[in-house]
Symmetry: C2
Subunit: 190 residues, 2 copies
Amino acid sequence: MKLLEDMILRYGEVRPGNVLKVDSFLNHRIDVKLVEKLGEELYEAFKNDKITKVLTIESSGIAIAMMTALKFGVPMVFAKKRKTINLSDDVYTAPVHSYTNNRDYEVMVSKDYIGKDDVILIVDDFLANGCALRGLIDIAHRAGATVAGAGIAIEKGFQGGGDVLRAEGLKIVSLAIIERMSDDSLEFRR
Amino acid sequence: MKLLEDMILRYGEVRPGNVLKVDSFLNHRIDVKLVEKLGEELYEAFKNDKITKVLTIESSGIAIAMMTALKFGVPMVFAKKRKTINLSDDVYTAPVHSYTNNRDYEVMVSKDYIGKDDVILIVDDFLANGCALRGLIDIAHRAGATVAGAGIAIEKGFQGGGDVLRAEGLKIVSLAIIERMSDDSLEFRR
């Protein structure tokens, strides 16, 4: 999506450790018109997939998931992060390792809000190694739901997580895929 | 707002410790059409206040703030929560005490995304004792910004934080104000 790529080139900042900072428009200060367009693009990509629910993880996935769900006219559920592992009969949980912060946490979705009749579109701001996405897929499958695919704003293609999941058969639509990234250059996949 | 009050009466659950659980439509599973209407109501209430930015706190304020900012056509900024206090020249921070979780945390906004020319509408899902709201007001003022007021989905009127802030001169618009709450009854302010 050219608009998103242009925003990344213009306002994104590459930080040590393969970190791409897009705080100025995507996950701290939110360019709401841009995010509305991201939601429209993800709707176009999945509109024939009979989506019943959009699933994301707090916090930076929420804005994009919100706009996507609004286009579909379906509820949005955001998984909550917890640092401590609590066992409960009321929730589905999955462990996630964050390479960015180098820590483990748990994501949690109440059993009340996802079920076997759901066809789920997972939405997130970033896809890198795919850990968070796998956690959400795992939760959806344990609820008996169908995962129609994943809609991502920015995929770090060079970290490989998206391609491994595609090879496993998952439909992933990423609106910008970064093929190579260094302090002074950034190249998108074509 | 009758629609929100009806949703609270129908789907809200009162839990021990004055907790009102609205996970099923407001802050875990999101009823996107409802939240769109909340944003429209907050826009109507503040549309003459020359708002340049909507400010909220992650995570459960984001969806409402997003829809409100979209109506205004202005950026949305969400403050990030941190458990540890880090001093940095790049961010405004404020300490917040959460009575619900009985813990202290810090909220943080980058200095890049709020400034002296901003007229800020603070948006959040809940207002109870007003601690989080005061933290955001403090951050806005230290940035030299003007706070036009606060738009809240659900105010727990009986906890008093909103009325104290109103007495101090803050414009607060809450779409549902709970005057009394017990296990078997819930009464709204008229």
